[in-house]
């Protein structure tokens, strides 16, 4: 059971990552060349997944779209991770101090907003585009990582080995970096995987409303938006990018679950 979900998670995620990777070297058709006479083909032997309303090969667009999704989500999660984790660790060292309050209440404030709505606001204010989408999604990853790392760090601070480190004269900062962080890394990796799949959804959502990746760079969300008026006579235009999003999000979630089972010492212990 454990290995089942983990393995399918790995396989699905690998499928997407490999598709994105191959797209750097090769795609079946050049998608910057529109070919209007070939438009709206259903899947066939030349265009395996058919063509869109501009006659572009959908398989090629999905592959490059995978790249877009992964890149945006990775950078956004990166922002959340590299800002959120240090904030959480600092808050944990200064537990109940004014610094802790400021950090955590600000995080609560950000967390309280519906993330996608604010992401739309940010991109609408500062202009649509992949970079602003990354920043907008990234900002909402900060409180997630801050909370997880603070919570986990707090329980570690009570442990004897941390006490030993303090007695030996290490500063709070060094303890956080050398002892706390490695011990919560597993947890953060799991959280990161989940956030990564949410990031992909958010990117698709922003692109769907036209505020994410701008044309001509393909994006699954925009493919869905473009397909909207054509669903009634060319449903594959919506089904294919929709399926791609499902596969990616499902794969990453299964992977995250599997990793948690694998890495979390408590879960591991209880199973043994």
């Amino acid at each position: 059971m454990r290995s089942g979900s983990f393995i399918s998670g790995v396989l699905l995620s690998a499928l997407v990552v490999i598709a994105a990777g191959i797209s750097f070297l090769w795609v079946p058709f050049d998608i910057t060349q529109l070919s209007i006479p070939d438009k709206l083909q259903t899947p066939n032997e030349v265009h395996w997944l058919g063509t869109d309303h501009f006659g572009r090969d959908i398989l090629s667009m999905i592959m490059i779209g995978a790249r877009t999704s992964l890149a945006v989500a990775l950078l956004a999660v990166g922002i959340g991770f590299f800002i959120g984790v240090p904030l959480g660790l600092v808050a944990a060292t200064k537990k109940n101090s004014i610094i802790d309050e400021i950090i955590m209440r600000t995080n609560d404030l950000i967390f309280a907003f519906p993330s996608l709505v604010i992401a739309i606001l940010i991109t609408a204010l500062f202009g649509a585009g992949a970079m602003n989408a990354i920043i907008a999604i990234g900002i909402f990853n900060i409180p997630v990582f801050a909370r997880v790392s603070r919570g986990a760090a707090l329980s570690l601070w009570q442990k004897e080995f941390i006490l030993a480190a303090r007695v030996s004269g290490k500063s709070d900062l060094r303890i956080s970096a050398e002892h706390i962080f490695p011990n919560i890394a597993n947890l953060l990796i799991v959280q990161g995987t989940i956030q990564f799949s949410l990031g992909i959804l958010a990117e698709a959502g922003l692109s769907y409303v036209g505020l994410g990746t701008q044309p001509p760079i393909p994006s699954w969300g925009r493919m869905l938006a473009d397909a909207q008026t054509m669903v009634s006579f060319a449903p594959h235009l919506a089904i294919i990018p929709g399926t791609a999003i499902i596969i990616t999000v499902l794969g990453l979630n299964l992977l995250g679950d599997g990793l948690r089972d694998l890495l979390d010492p408590r879960v591991r212990k209880s199973r043994e």
């Binding site: 529109l34 309303h53 501009f54 909207q228 008026t229």
Partner: protein, 494 residues
């Protein structure tokens, strides 16, 4: 003795009878369109959406457009033109009343025209009135308009939605409560949703068949498709998703009207922004564009290629598409001649309609093929007006110019594409002063050639006007000689 029961029965019968009547001949209509007017004063804004709702329904001018684009009498019953062509004496219809009950007379005409041409006027088409030197009230039903020189298109100008007759009594609140002389009176405006009109019982002309009309605003193409399919709306004028039209055509519940518009869809080019200020570069862009691919790809085949800024159904139209035929090799050569053999980068700012968004992606791909990189940004209308139309902060954009006979905008160097050619400007001045139809025609043809040879903008196609309606609706305008949804002649078939 009273017999209350009998009275009751009679009353019930009457109710049922009237309900029966309204069932057999429907007298209300719901018309949907994509854009909502920003306010309801056609004489102080460029927004065509205002005219789409109010023109001819609520507001009328001295003359008006008929459905075929010809100019017919409006509030002026007849007119005399002095032999030198500078004095127009309009004979107004008598007994015409505004919706607030005040009468429409010569003073209102004077007020309207003076207001439009005044120094501080906010009229979006002030040029229509620029030749007027004096408006004199002769008597209640006679107005004498003097021009500085003969103007062959004066009666045409007076038919525009920007030249409708308004009253000084009601001008104050016109932006929210329009008061005109038309066959329908304004009832209610629920912002973001609908505008309701109802029949004007005191209308001077023939009573319209419809009692009530509701205009609904549905901007999203998918919602538009759903609203028509579910028959929530009876008519959708300017249906935004051409890809869905074949489905409506195949459905016996609907009729699809494909007509012509005055909408020249162009790749507007900032003539002051290097390197687009170089005619060779603009020519290269023109030859890089494959119009048919854009019409097929963006409009699913609806649209007529154009080679200049003029409506193809106009008798004076010159087919200049050959002047900018699709020839990417020539484009590359021209770019090399302009010293840009490496290509260049510019912006392509696209407003929301699908002709712009989809057309933009196609053009970007075609330009890339000759080495021109465009950075696409999709804008909402407000942003587009701010950045492109007013701010002139753009390289390229795609927009449809839907005003009739608007080639005169090329004589305005401060217009957003910033084309400044004295030869063209003097030709336009000359044209305004010419009344002889043959001379006018040859001037118009010359004007089309000049802007085509200067490659001011990329001329793409004439927008098709597609209306989807319930199969039983009669009397809708098929073509759009001006932006209007004239409901005065609309009725339901039994």
């Amino acid at each position: 003795m009273f017999q209350p029961k009998k009275i009751f029965t009679a009353a019930t019968f009457a109710v049922f009878a009237s309900a029966g009547v309204s069932l057999s001949a429907q007298s209300d209509i719901t018309v949907a369109m994509q854009l909502e007017p920003p306010h309801l004063d056609p004489t102080s804004a460029a927004a065509g959406a205002i005219d789409s709702v109010l023109y001819s329904n609520v507001f009328e001018g001295l003359t008006r457009f008929a459905s075929d684009g010809s100019i017919i009498a409006g509030l002026a019953e007849s007119w005399d033109i002095s032999s030198d062509g500078t004095v127009y004496t309009f004979k107004l219809r008598s007994g015409v009343k505004f919706h607030d009950g005040t009468s429409m007379d010569a003073n209102d005409v004077k007020f309207s025209l003076d207001r439009a041409r005044a120094e501080d006027s906010t009229n979006a088409q002030k040029a229509l009135f620029s030749g007027i030197t004096d408006v004199a009230v002769v008597n209640d039903t006679t107005v004498k308009v003097s021009l500085d020189k003969p103007n062959g298109s004066f009666l045409f100008n007076m038919a525009w939605g920007d030249a409708v007759i308004v009253a000084p009594e009601s001008i104050e609140g016109i932006k929210n409560k329009p008061v005109g002389t038309g066959a329908f009176t304004f009832q209610n405006w629920v912002q973001g949703d609908r505008i309701e009109l109802s029949r004007n019982p005191d209308y001077w002309g023939n009573q319209p068949a419809l009692e009530k009309a509701t205009f609904k605003f549905i901007s999203d193409p998918t919602a538009a498709f759903a609203a028509v399919m579910a028959q929530d709306v009876d008519v959708f004028t300017g249906f935004p998703a051409p890809e869905n039209l074949p489905q409506f055509e195949a459905d016996p519940r609907f009729q699809v009207l494909e007509g012509s518009t005055e909408g020249e869809t162009i790749l507007s080019t900032n003539n002051k922004m290097p390197p687009l200020d170089n005619v060779k570069v603009r020519k290269a862009i023109a030859h890089a564009i494959d119009r048919q691919a854009i019409i097929d790809g963006a409009m699913f085949g609806y649209g007529t290629p154009i080679g200049t800024h003029f409506a193809p159904h106009n008798p004076d139209y010159v087919d200049l598409t050959g002047n900018s035929n699709y020839d990417p090799e020539l484009s590359k050569k021209l770019l090399a001649e302009a010293g840009l053999s490496e290509g260049f980068k510019t912006t392509l700012k696209l407003p929301p309609p699908s002709y712009a968004r989809r057309g933009g992606e196609i053009i970007a791909s075609q330009l890339r093929a000759v080495g021109i990189e465009t950075e696409i940004s999709n804008l909402e209308w407000a942003q587009w007006l701010e950045q492109v139309f007013r701010g002139k902060d753009y390289g390229l954009t795609i927009v449809s110019h839907t005003e009739p006979m608007d080639i005169g905008i090329y004589a305005r160097p401060d217009y957003y594409f910033q084309y400044d050619n004295p030869e063209f400007q003097s030709l336009m001045t000359e044209l305004t002063g010419t009344t002889d139809p043959a001379e006018r025609s040859s001037m118009l043809k010359k004007a089309q050639r000049i802007i085509s040879d200067d490659y001011v903008n990329g001329y793409l196609f004439e927008l098709a006007f597609t209306t989807v309606a319930n199969a039983k609706v009669r009397g809708l305008w098929k073509n759009a000689p001006t932006q209007a949804t004239d409901l005065t002649g609309v009725s339901w078939a039994d």
